[in-house]
């Protein structure tokens, strides 16, 4: 007897035994060793796969935009430290340049080059943390423990320049508080000599490692169109194949005099983000070398702030022995510097994207409104779209490869 396959008893059986799927809710964070920061994700799980996720942010919100409305301009620098605390000097310099734009201060070339050295060191420190942590999340702790020695060394360089390590509060509006010491130069040169080999060794551990490649290639991939719609900037956007870099598009701080490559990826996955950061660190090293060469060619070895010392504190011995210097010091500390009314937007290429400062001044002692364009805050909202359909372990590695810093996310 011929069996009717469409209406056979077994076909009916399958239909009746199909049950509605059962999903589990999984709470990841806010404090979880795999999230590297205070992020909460409530995930709806189908076994190991993520069906949807809902993010909660704001656990370390500190109301910087409100506090900034009650602080004189030079006191806002410590607030910017605490945005992306993995690369504080970048934020400091971005804020100083914003105020300089409002005040119309032209910085000397030497100040620009000094700033570029510090900013690129900070970029290396930030990318180094992010890339080694991608390694940790895929099970390779070795690179992390080794490269953190170099991060430690970058912090020692900061210490020589400004006296502090993590939240640096480096520089002044108009330049630096002091010239770089001989020891600082020695340390920068030593870093340039030793770091490339360490970086290459780290890359050899991971870049062609089968386990690492399997864990990262095609994980958390994102298309260029979606990335642009979601406001991605920085290495995350470049990994998707868009060559947008503020240093090249809108050069600030004399970046237009430097010769460097903007590395881009193709598929926007975790592996591409890793490789883009890896290449950017090498480019940063080359930028620092170019800056050192430019400084060596300069006759001027003393200038470290603009000719306009409206925010640069006079040297201490003068403050103690000279009436005018004491008055000047007092004027700056009390925030009595004349600020023109106006509004400016200035952005820099921070380590994880375009860090913008929208500053409105009404001529008062403090900003009338200050808005930070925080790259993390804008691109982290694409995270559900990136991880939906992936496995939980991929979501963890995607999060660390996006370089979301809780301090910047929550402001």
């Amino acid at each position: 007897m011929a069996q009717n396959f469409t209406t056979g008893y077994w076909a009916k059986d399958i239909v009746t035994t199909e049950e509605p799927k059962e999903y589990n809710t999984l709470n990841v964070g806010p404090t979880h060793p795999a999230t590297h920061g205070v992020f909460q994700n409530v995930m709806l799980m189908d076994g190991e796969f993520i069906v949807s996720t809902e993010q909660t942010i704001g656990y370390i919100h500190r109301a910087f935009e409100k506090i900034a409305e009650h602080r004189p301009f030079y006191q806002i620098t410590p607030l910017t430290d605490r945005l992306n605390y993995c690369s504080s000097p970048l934020n400091n310099m971005g804020w100083h340049m914003t105020v300089e734009k409002l005040l119309g201060i032209e910085t000397p070339k030497r100040v620009d080059y000094l700033r570029i050295i510090v900013m690129e060191l900070a970029r290396i420190a930030d990318h180094l943390v992010c890339n080694t942590v991608i390694g940790v999340d895929s099970g390779a702790l070795t690179g992390f423990t080794y490269l953190f020695q170099d991060r430690e060394f970058i912090y020692e360089i900061y210490e020589e320049i400004c006296g502090s390590r993590l939240t640096t509060n480096m520089g002044r509006i108009g330049g630096f508080e002091r010239n770089f010491s001989e020891k600082a130069w020695d340390k920068i040169r030593y870093f340039l000599k030793t770091y490339p080999a360490h970086l290459q060794e780290f890359e050899n551990l991971l870049a062609r490692n089968r386990i690492f490649m399997d864990r990262t290639i095609n994980v958390g991939a994102f298309s260029a169109e979606r990335a642009l719609a979601y406001g991605f900037t920085g290495p995350n956007l470049r990994a998707c194949g868009v060559d947008y870099d503020v240093r090249v598009m809108n050069p600030y701080c004399s970046y237009d005099e430097f010769d460097f490559i903007v590395p881009i990826g193709q598929s926007g996955d975790t592996y591409d983000r890793f490789m883009v950061r890896q290449e950017e660190m090498k480019q940063s090293l080359s930028i620092i070398e170019q800056a050192l060469a430019k400084l060596d060619r300069m006759d001027d070895k003393e200038t470290y702030f603009a000719a306009d010392p409206r925010f640069v504190l006079p040297p201490k011995e003068k403050v103690y022995n000279n009436m005018e210097a004491l008055i000047w010091h007092f004027k700056i500390v009390m925030g009595e510097t004349d600020i023109p009314a106006g509004e400016v937007y200035h952005c820099i290429e921070a380590a994880n994207g375009e860090l913008g400062f929208y500053l409105i001044s009404d001529g008062g002692r403090t900003p009338s409104r200050l808005h930070f364009r925080r790259p993390c805050f804008i691109y982290y909202q694409a995270y559900p779209e990136m991880v939906t359909g992936n496995m939980l372990s991929d979501a963890v590695i995607t999060l660390s490869s996006m370089n979301v810093i809780a301090g910047e996310l929550d402001a």
Partner: protein, 169 residues
């Protein structure tokens, strides 16, 4: 400094005025950026036009932030958009009355606006009409005030031992 490009500024102003007429209330160049003030009702169509017009192509929403103008009893939103193609940035401002602070959402044009609008709602209480999920984002859900409005002073106003008039603000 951004490249100052007066021809392109003029092109944007002309195209917007031709298309939207009196909805474009004013325009000026502040420091290095063209700043346009527009009526709130047409905000989504203005951005759609800016994004899709082949000569303009402002394809990227850089940032969006809320404002409070206590002297006119108004709330406002300031948008920054940029064109990667032409390497040009503009700023668009709009205001709404404090009593009924409604502004149409632009999440339909850029999904990036989602959290930025939630932040503006969280801190200023601006209601973005058509927003898919308008709730607080950085502050706790139980909060009833909008803390970045100017009526909330940061320092304790009941203190008598400290005279703030010495410090400008």
């Amino acid at each position: 400094m951004y490249p100052i490009n007066p021809e392109r500024d003029q092109l944007v102003v002309n195209k917007l005025s031709n298309r939207f007429g009196s909805a474009i209330e004013s325009h000026e160049v502040l420091n290095d950026m063209l700043c346009i003030t527009a009526q709130k009702e047409l905000i989504p169509s203005i951005f759609l036009f800016l994004r899709d017009d082949l000569e303009l192509q402002y394809n990227f929403l850089t940032t969006l932030c809320g404002m409070h103008y206590p002297e006119t009893e108004q709330l406002g939103v300031v948008y920054h958009v940029q064109s990667f193609v032409n390497n040009h940035r503009i700023r668009i401002k709009t205001v709404t009355e404090l009593k009924e602070p409604k502004i149409p959402t632009i999440t339909t044009i850029w999904p990036a606006a989602n959290w930025m609008e939630r932040e503006a709602y969280d801190f200023f209480g601006i209601l973005f009409e058509g927003h898919p999920n308008l709730k607080r984002i950085l502050n706790m859900d139980e909060m009833t005030d909008f803390p970045l409005r100017k009526e909330f002073p940061l320092e304790d106003q009941t203190r008598e031992d400290k005279n703030d008039s010495m410090f400008g603000r």
